[in-house]
Symmetry: C2
Subunit: 177 residues, 2 copies
Amino acid sequence: MKSVQLNEFWRLASRPEIIAWAVAQHEGRRSICPLGWKMRTSFAPPMVAVSIAPKRFTHGLIAASGEFVLSWPGEDQAEATYFCGTHSGQNTDKFAEMGFTTLPARHIQVPLIAECAAHIECRVRGRLETGDHTIFAAEVLGAWIAEPPRRLLCSIHPSSGAEILLQRGGYSFGVVR
Amino acid sequence: MKSVQLNEFWRLASRPEIIAWAVAQHEGRRSICPLGWKMRTSFAPPMVAVSIAPKRFTHGLIAASGEFVLSWPGEDQAEATYFCGTHSGQNTDKFAEMGFTTLPARHIQVPLIAECAAHIECRVRGRLETGDHTIFAAEVLGAWIAEPPRRLLCSIHPSSGAEILLQRGGYSFGVVR
């Protein structure tokens, strides 16, 4: 057993990691924040938790509106994921920039992005500050899957042997099924 | 876009999911709780969050001691993961039952299981009740990787095409690299 630095540790222990986008809007502003730090956290009521840094524009939208959509990009959205992760919604409308089509959600005001592979509608029920991030714990009010189902985008270690779609700026995106 | 039940949704959106074991001890009692619901939640200080149901024996040990090891089983631990997930530490010493070898951790009292592929030492810094689970948010004090590195066990959808190691009781374990 070898003691290692955390960067080395997480390269081993967190890849492949399915990527999701936290999508939020409030008072006419909207944004998209790609993230890997998410988990389920309750069966009944069904809940998920996401970790988002307060410096992200999306963080403020979720804190103010109390709701968000968690969307899973498909394999054709590696470029969009990179763009949304490297620009701020403070000065960019990522929906317009990416040319996304929106569909109404059923339970909340945040729209679904038609180009994504899967979505859940989420209402915040609790939050916890954790170092440099905030955990938003949210009830899942509805779920959507694109037809036909599509392969989900993952953050992948380049040496994994899995199918790599985009490597840029230290990120490596691919699919595992 | 099709509205779906959550069971169907998570089959698509959360597989493959790397499995970890929350390992805890307090006043001579010890246990192991396999879980998929975990995420990183801070860069500085480095933190992780896990979701554990209060009915789990391990939950009480973590709540009382304020620390746990998060261990990643390797590909040879599918059977052990199934055993630990389907028995309670209330009436079973899973370490003894599995014949595990323990090694001292560096920062906390909980031991490392020598048979596992990777470990982090965790001290609880916050908690949040979420429906039928508790989120424990913990600082990561140290990290360990087995030498040579081993492939990590995942919860995998049987139709994924990935290598399946064990299917039992509704669980499907395998590896993706």
